[in-house]
């Protein structure tokens, strides 16, 4: 304070001196202000009233010279008095805060060296409005804005958003030319720029409630392809502006100055939400929006080997170009070709709109009925934040006429398919009208107890049969031959009695004869009294005994009688005995 006071006093003296000592040389330094912000400019004038040489500015150690020196000389005569002034002007910006000293400047006037006094400048913090409102930059900053208007800053993945870049400006600025310095590339988005022919100025726009002129510079439709925080790169424009300056022309109008101004939207952040995981359909393929879905056939009945078209169509609003249509699945005997994809999508400010479709050409091979199973299409509706699934209705294609499966049986490519071989016969058959129903849960006969009983029983029977034969039948056989055996035994007994009397001829023959008779009696069931040789012979023949044997038998008996009644005749006892036993055995076999 003291110092400034003393400066002021000194200054007064100087001025007084200047007034009183007219014609005296003055050389002084004038600063525009002694207290300024770090970001403000300081103007320093070094003024002299006599023309001087060798002007040496002070060393602006703490300042930076923005411009200067500018030399200005003015001469005037007023009431015959000449006045002269010569000024060196510098524009400076301070380099640091604090008290800065502006050093002395020197000049040589009429051979004498004059010096200005040093000036102290107080530099404070940077101020917000560095300069006066009339400054050009200031005017520009206040009256021109570039804004990116984003329709939604937290969309879902694949939900369309629009970004409109608008330039606002108002009096007194007018824009004469615009050049784009930096264009956003929309890296994580599917983007589409909407063409704007000529920039039109909307005089009635408003920015933050104040009237502005509005120019829509660009429109973009974006579909985020990534979740999370995505940054929109800034749009930067270089504007050529006409701004009224402080100066005025002859008629008092302000002179317009042309300046360049770089203006940017700054970075915008979009937070992209993940689509909800809950209730997400399995066949969801990324469609987000509002859609309609349909499967359309162009024919429902056709001949085999003709073709028909199946169209899978989705129309509506949403990311139409960004998802795949569901595929159609058809019965295996239909030949399906690769679909043709068709898009009729308009992109407007509200996003993609229109329809996309896949056209399948299908050729049936054989006659029959072919159901086209319903196709499902799922999408996410961001408005209701839910998944929706649309299902086409069941469609049936009736293929009539034309080749049945059988006719293509000889084709090598198809001959391996079993159904082809089996459909060799023409048409679908009618139902059966007669049936014989049987219980479903029929007892399985195989390995059932009944089965085993029936399997084991015959074996059991076989065993019994065998045992039966072994014991019972064998025994009954004995009974039948018993008599025969008795007869043999009898014969043997009789013959044995004869054998006992082998030495006595008469007794032997008597016994032999009796034995033969007894044998026959037992065998033929006849009484001894009736026995005669002729009768024996007859009986034997009746019983189908060999005639010769019968005669032999009778001969033996005769022989016996002869030997009995004619003893001493030449007889052979042993021979006769042998003969008799042989005969009995023979007859026995033949009876």
């Amino acid at each position: 304070m003291m110092r400034s006071h003393s400066i002021r006093i000194l200054f007064c003296f100087l001025v007084l001196g200047a007034l009183s000592l007219q014609g005296q040389v003055t050389f002084e330094a004038k600063v525009s202000k002694k207290r300024l912000g770090l970001n403000e400019r300081l103007r320093v004038d070094f003024q002299m009233n006599e023309n001087g040489d060798n002007f040496a500015p002070p060393a602006f150690a703490d300042f930076q010279v923005v411009s200067g020196p500018q030399q200005a000389v003015s001469r005037s005569w007023v009431n015959g008095v000449q006045s002269f002034s010569k000024t060196y002007t510098y524009f400076l910006t301070p380099k640091k805060k604090g008290k800065l000293k502006l050093g002395q400047a020197e000049v040589t006037i009429s051979g004498e060296v004059y010096k200005t006094s040093a000036v102290e400048i107080q530099v404070t913090e940077a101020v917000k409005k560095p300069n006066d409102p009339n400054n050009v930059d200031n005017i520009i900053d206040g009256n021109i804005h570039l804004v990116a208007e984003i329709s939604k800053t937290n969309p879902y993945l694949n939900e369309g958003i629009t970004v409109i870049y608008k330039l606002y400006f108002r009096n007194p600025i007018s824009v004469s030319d615009v050049a784009e310095l930096e264009s956003p590339s929309y890296g994580d988005f599917w983007s589409h720029l909407i063409k704007i022919g000529r920039a039109e100025i909307n005089m009635r726009g408003s920015y933050k409630g104040e009237p502005y002129n509005e120019v829509i510079w660009r429109k973009a439709v974006l579909y985020p392809q990534k979740t999370g925080k995505l940054t929109l790169e800034p749009l930067t424009l270089n504007l050529s502006l006409s701004v009224p300056s402080n100066r005025k022309d002859l008629f008092g109008r302000r002179i317009l100055t042309q300046t360049q101004k770089i203006i940017t939207t700054g970075k915008n952040v979009i937070r992209v939400k993940e689509l909800p995981e809950s209730n997400k359909p399995n066949d969801f393929s990324g469609a987000v929006g509002q859609f309609d879905f349909d499967v359309i056939l162009d024919k429902y009945a056709l001949k085999a080997s003709e073709s028909f078209q199946a169209k899978i169509k989705v129309n509506g609003k949403g990311n139409l170009k960004l998802f795949n249509l569901p595929t159609i699945s058809v019965p295996n005997t239909l030949e399906v070709y690769e679909p043709e994809h068709d898009e009729k999508v308009k992109i407007t400010l509200s996003g993609m709109q229109g329809s996309i479709e896949d056209n399948y050409t299908i050729v049936p091979q054989y006659q029959g009925k072919y159901p086209i199973p319903p196709v499902q299409f799922s999408y996410f509706d961001p408005k209701s934040a839910t998944y929706k699934t649309l299902t086409s209705q069941d469609l049936i294609v009736d293929v009539f006429d034309g080749p049945t499966a059988g006719t293509s049986r000889n084709e090598t490519t198809l001959s391996e398919r079993k159904q082809v071989i089996e459909t060799a016969d023409n048409t679908f058959r009618f139902i059966k009208l007669n049936t014989k129903l049987s219980p479903i849960h029929q007892e399985i006969f195989w390995m059932s107890s009944r089965f085993w009983i029936l399997l084991i029983t015959p074996l059991f029977i076989l065993l019994t049969g065998y045992l039966l034969k072994l014991f019972v039948l064998e025994k009954t056989e004995d009974v039948t031959t018993r008599k025969q055996r008795r007869a043999q035994q009898l014969a043997k007994k009789y013959l044995s009695s004869a054998k006992k009397v082998f030495n006595d001829q008469a007794l032997f023959y008597e016994a032999l004869e009796r034995a033969l008779h007894n044998y026959l009696k037992a065998k033929l069931k006849i009484e001894t009294t009736e026995m005669s040789k002729s009768k024996i012979e007859r009986l034997l023949v009746e019983k189908k005994v060999n005639k010769e044997t019968a005669l032999d038998y009778v001969a033996v008996i005769e022989n016996c009688e002869r030997a009995r009644y004619a003893p001493g005749s030449s007889v052979n006892i042993e021979e006769d005995f042998e003969k008799a036993s042989k005969l009995i055995a023979t007859i026995d076999r033949q009876l």
Binding site: G368, R417, T423, D425, I431, T435, L437, P439, T457, P458
Partner: protein, 268 residues
């Protein structure tokens, strides 16, 4: 001679008794259900397939079935474009009557409706012959034939034992040997059919679409996709997973599939 007959004759009541055991399995329980079947046929002919199906299924619910019934059901479902049901019933009809040509043809029509084209594994001549032989009689008929052949053998052999004449004895003996041979074949065939039935369980897939995995967990590889109406062979299961094989020999695991077994005994 008369006495032989008398002793053999004493066995006759026994034979008759055991034959009675056989007979009921052949002819029983066919009567009151046929009107339902005929009503179903009428409904089918009038085009009211739903009604026809209801009537046919009522018969099934009453525990009666036949190849024709299953065949008609398959036809009705075919008319209604229900692929899986149609194939299911045609397959069931085929099981009861493997040789019927109507069933073969319509079943092929139904299979034409399925989405998947599955190539059948080629069968060797021998396998085909074997299949034809096995299918020439139903399983039950085979087992009855086995028993009958044994009885015939026993009869012939008894004849051999009981008759005395050498000529008769000889012919009885050789024919009984022949029948014994036939019996053992028939027994073996029936036995192997039974084993085959037990070990191979077929089912029809009712799920609209199902993924086949290489392992019974989703870390495995996704092998292929099947659609309804496919006939699969059930091989194994693990919790909600089932191992299947399809006609072309591919195998894999499916999860929570809707399957309907063709073999009644497996249906839970």
């Amino acid at each position: 001679m008369k006495k032989y007959l008398r002793t053999y004759g004493s066995l006759l009541p026994v034979i008759v008794f055991f034959s009675m055991l056989l007979v009921p399995s052949l002819s029983s329980g066919q009567a009151s259900m046929e009107p339902l079947f005929e009503e179903g046929n009428t409904a089918y002919n009038e085009g009211d397939y739903n009604k026809a199906i209801a009537l046919y299924e009522q018969t099934l619910k009453l525990g009666q079935h036949s190849a024709a019934l299953y065949y008609n059901l398959g036809n009705a479902y075919y008319r209604l474009n229900n692929v899986a049901e149609s194939i299911y019933y045609f397959e069931k009809a085929k099981r009861l009557n493997p040789k019927d040509s109507d069933i073969q043809i319509n079943s092929a029509f139904a299979r034409n409706m399925t989405i998947d084209a599955i190539e059948f594994l080629p069968e060797s001549q021998l396998a085909q012959l074997k299949k034809r032989l096995f299918n020439s009689l139903s399983f039950n008929s085979w087992s009855i034939l086995t028993v009958v052949l044994l009885w015939v053998f026993v009869g012939l052999f008894l004849g051999y034992l009981l008759f005395n004449s050498t000529q008769l004895k000889r012919s009885f003996f050789f024919s009984s040997l022949g029948v014994l041979l036939l019996f053992s074949w028939s027994f073996l065939i029936t036995f192997s059919i039974n084993q085959q039935e037990k070990n191979t369980q077929f089912a029809i897939l009712f799920s609209n679409q199902i993924d086949i995995w290489s392992e019974p967990n989703q870390q495995g590889e996704l092998l292929f996709t099947l659609h309804e109406g496919t006939k699969v062979q059930l091989l194994d299961d693990l919790e909600e997973w089932q191992k299947i094989r399809i006609a072309n020999g591919s195998e894999g695991w499916i999860k929570n599939a809707s399957l309907r077994a063709l073999n009644e005994t497996i249906i839970k």
